[in-house]
């Protein structure tokens, strides 16, 4: 316990409570501005295209991440159940396509077709929407709700509590949030940690001379 410098510990010890507090604060107040992103059918999609929507399930996901690969059937189920209730699901891919060839737009088109996505799969090429949401991992789910004509974040975090074993899921965080909101109730768990591959925001382009 003596004489060690442990950078990670400093970050964790100092940052963890701060992030939790800020995060919680943000979740209950955070407003999301509308966006316009290209779907895999090449049309652009915005929130305002759904005038009757009460809310949305927004899932930041991607093609390459092994953890994200576990969820497409569950995303289809969520959209199938909640879209008719006025809460459609939109999936957004915001990972760095300079790094991941697998996440480029043509590959997204192929993925949406292969997995029979029944929801839009939107390409956030500039990573601007992920930054606006402060999406951390793929997958990272948000439930947003219309409050006085604005979109407010009501839930942020994991879709549920078991990625690889859907039959062992105990807590369907995102679905529970939607159920509560549809019933006019308080969301029981407003925030969890999203689990998966870190969404790395692209740094400024490096000079080609740099090694």
């Amino acid at each position: 316990m003596k004489g060690r410098f442990y950078k990670g510990a400093i970050l964790l010890l100092l940052a963890a409570p701060v992030i939790t507090l800020l995060g919680f604060d943000k979740i209950s107040n955070k407003m999301i501005s509308d966006f316009s992103l290209r779907n895999t059918d090449s049309r652009y999609v915005s929130l305002k295209d759904y005038p009757d929507a009460k809310g949305f399930i927004i899932v930041f996901t991607c093609n390459h991440c092994p953890f994200a690969k576990l969820y497409p059937p569950r995303l289809n189920d969520l959209n199938q159940k909640y879209k008719p209730l006025g809460v459609p699901l939109l999936a957004i891919s915001s990972t760095d396509t300079i790094v991941y060839e697998e996440d480029t737009y043509p590959m997204m088109v192929a993925k949406a077709k292969k997995e029979h996505f029944n929801f839009p799969y939107l390409f956030d090429e500039m990573q601007a929407v992920a930054k606006n949401f402060q999406a951390q991992k793929t997958p990272h789910a948000f439930v947003i709700w219309k409050e006085n004509g604005r979109w407010e974040v009501k839930y942020s975090g994991a879709i549920d509590d078991n990625g690889a074993e859907p039959d062992k899921v105990k807590n369907r965080y995102a679905a529970n949030a939607v159920d509560a909101l549809l019933g006019g109730k308080e969301v029981p768990i407003k925030e969890t940690k999203s689990i998966g591959c870190q969404i790395n925001f692209r740094p400024l382009p490096a000079s080609p001379k740099e090694r």
């Binding site: 004489g3 060690r4 410098f5 510990a9 010890l13 994991a158 969890t192 001379k209």
Partner: protein, 567 residues
């Protein structure tokens, strides 16, 4: 194909990790052999505990990579493909090779890039390993699960009557520990994990045959040391250190193994009843102050449920002997000719300095060598090629360390605390440097001069290394005369290219030090240290577009950039 392997790995681990609270079958890492090795670094996940999976990083798998079998004398070629979403490096720990191939903090592999180092294997038969070495990120990337064994074979070792059937009577054991949060994600409040992992298996057990078995044990912890022994205190035999076999087996009942060190042991199960069991155990209770993991706290900055206690590492079930079992201990192993103090023409001293006490309330300040924090741009030592040097490293400081130096294998000459342990009498590249101790070693810096890319010396405890307890040295060929030539020019053909591009050097005698190819949006496609260019460079997988080739020539170390088009 790659994806399938990844999922196969994940599923395998799923099965072996599923039952928490009872024994799980020890995972034996897959093997790769030959002279070309494809290593794919990825983000992935593992079912360590009931409930959600733990996000990890793996090489060709889910946690910890394949064991690479290399033959002494072979030239080996590595295709390291970084699919991980962060820059990394891959260091070949213990290996004698050119600095530009070493995989230290300077040989960074950006995401999406293929790095192709190669070298001739000159090390003797022993157990080595590979792991990330990115400055300030080593702890994070090691913790995620990146790393793997390298086992070198040679004719001398092959002629000895030793167990060498991998996974049967010759087992690699990588020791580490991790802690988990409520969603089963790894957490690193402390560098000491709460749960032991052997080859990535929690609570492992293995069936071993009733005969002499060989265990190749690597401490790949972030910080904890292990005081190894068996639960019945039986004598076992150290046959090899970091860099090769000892002259003869050394009988012991305990071996201290610090981060980065390897030890090869023989243990005789020939007198055990079939069906009986014995544990490989950490006798860490009551270890002296400064031994990493001797702290009493179970929580907080340096806390762990495994601190300052004895705990089982691996449960061994004794099974029937195999055909061709090794039933006797060899009296002698190999003939080593060690360097002595008299061989050294240069002596150096290093001191561990700075570093203030941490505690349950938080960590202290970083350790340095000689009050100098590690800086990528500073070369701390220059060693003349082919010199035998004696280094004394002194730690009059508040905590123990695990000293490691790249490029060489050395011989420990003395410990100020007492005699050098008989079990560390062979070729070493890493050792325990206790509190108030000076350890002196001797080594020859041969073969690989390079005044650009340095080798590292550092504490192998990841938080210390990331904190700056590291320095770097270049090996310089004093006979080489620096020239003031112009950088060597070149042309690329065909341009536009389809499958391969060829490099035509303006001066055919010119040697290429480094080629980097980037695409138009800035992704590094290839990093090719000292590429062999006769067969051209494969660009068949490149998307059509414009690419930049940066070529650095060996003599001037200057870089010229040219464009080519892939059709």
């Amino acid at each position: 194909m790659l994806l399938r392997n990844l999922f196969a790995g994940a599923i395998l681990l799923l099965l072996s990790f599923n039952s928490y609270g009872q024994y799980n079958t020890l995972h034996i890492p897959d093997t790769l052999s030959g002279t070309t090795f494809n290593l794919n670094i990825r983000d992935t996940f593992v079912q360590f505990r009931p409930g959600n999976q733990t996000i990890t990083a793996g090489i060709n798998g889910a946690f910890w990579g394949p064991t690479l079998f290399l033959n002494k004398g072979d030239s080996v070629y590595m295709n390291v493909h970084n699919f991980h979403n962060d820059t990394t490096t891959l260091h070949w720990h213990g290996m004698h090779l050119p600095a530009v191939m070493d995989g230290g903090p300077h040989q960074t592999i950006p995401p999406g890039t293929i790095w192709q180092p190669y070298w001739k294997v000159t090390n003797n038969a022993a157990t080595f390993w590979y792991h990330p070495h990115l400055h300030m990120k080593t702890e994070e990337q090691l913790a995620a699960g990146l790393g793997g064994f390298i086992i070198i074979r040679d004719a001398v070792e092959a002629a000895l009557p030793l167990p060498r059937t991998y996974g049967v009577d010759d087992l690699p054991l990588v020791l580490t520990s991790r802690s988990f949060d409520a969603s089963n994600a790894f957490i690193h409040v402390s560098p000491y994990g709460d749960y032991m992992l052997v080859n990535g298996t929690m609570n492992p057990q293995v069936s071993l045959p009733k005969q002499y078995v060989r265990l190749r044990i690597l401490n790949a912890e972030l910080e904890r040391g292990y005081n190894l022994g068996f639960s019945d205190n039986r004598t076992f035999y150290v046959i090899g250190n970091d860099g090769g076999l000892l002259d003869a087996p050394v009988p012991v009942t305990r071996v201290k193994l610090l981060v980065g060190e390897r030890v090869e042991i023989l243990v005789n199960l020939g007198s055990d009843a079939i069906g009986s069991g014995v544990d490989l155990e950490a006798f860490n209770a009551g270890m002296p102050f400064g031994f990493p993991g001797s702290e009493p706290s179970t929580t907080g900055a340096f806390g762990s449920l495994l601190n300052n206690i004895n705990f089982p590492i691996l449960h061994i079930n004794v099974a029937a002997a195999t055909a061709g079992a090794i039933t006797a201990l060899p009296a002698v192993l190999v003939t080593n000719t060690y360097l002595t103090a008299a061989d050294a023409t240069v002596t150096r001293t290093l001191n561990v300095t700075d570093g203030t006490p941490g505690g349950p309330g938080g960590p202290g300040t970083p350790f340095y060598f000689d009050h100098t924090p590690f800086a990528l741009a500073t070369i701390n030592k220059t060693v003349d090629l082919n010199t035998v040097e004696m280094w004394s490293v002194t730690n009059n400081n508040v905590f123990g360390h695990s000293f490691h130096i790249h490029d060489i294998q050395f011989k420990i000459l003395s410990r100020s605390s007492g005699p050098v342990n008989s079990y560390e009498s062979g070729w070493k590249d890493t050792y325990y440097l206790g509190v108030n101790e000076t350890v002196t070693f001797v080594a020859k810096f041969s073969d690989y001069a390079d005044d650009i890319h340095p080798f590292m010396y550092h504490c192998h405890m990841a938080p210390h290394e990331d904190g700056g307890l590291m320095g770097q040295f270049v090996v310089k060929d004093a006979t080489g005369v620096a020239t003031t030539k112009q950088p060597g020019d070149f042309t690329i053909y065909p341009n536009p290219a389809n499958n391969r591009v060829y490099v035509l050097l303006a001066d055919p005698a010119m040697q290429v030090y480094y080629i980097t190819i980037t695409n138009a949006v800035g992704r590094t496609m290839y990093m090719l240290p000292r590429p062999q260019l006769a067969g051209g460079i494969d660009v068949s997988n490149f998307a059509p577009g414009v690419y930049l080739m940066q070529l650095t020539d060996e003599q001037t170390k200057k870089t010229i950039v040219k464009r080519f088009v892939k059709e």
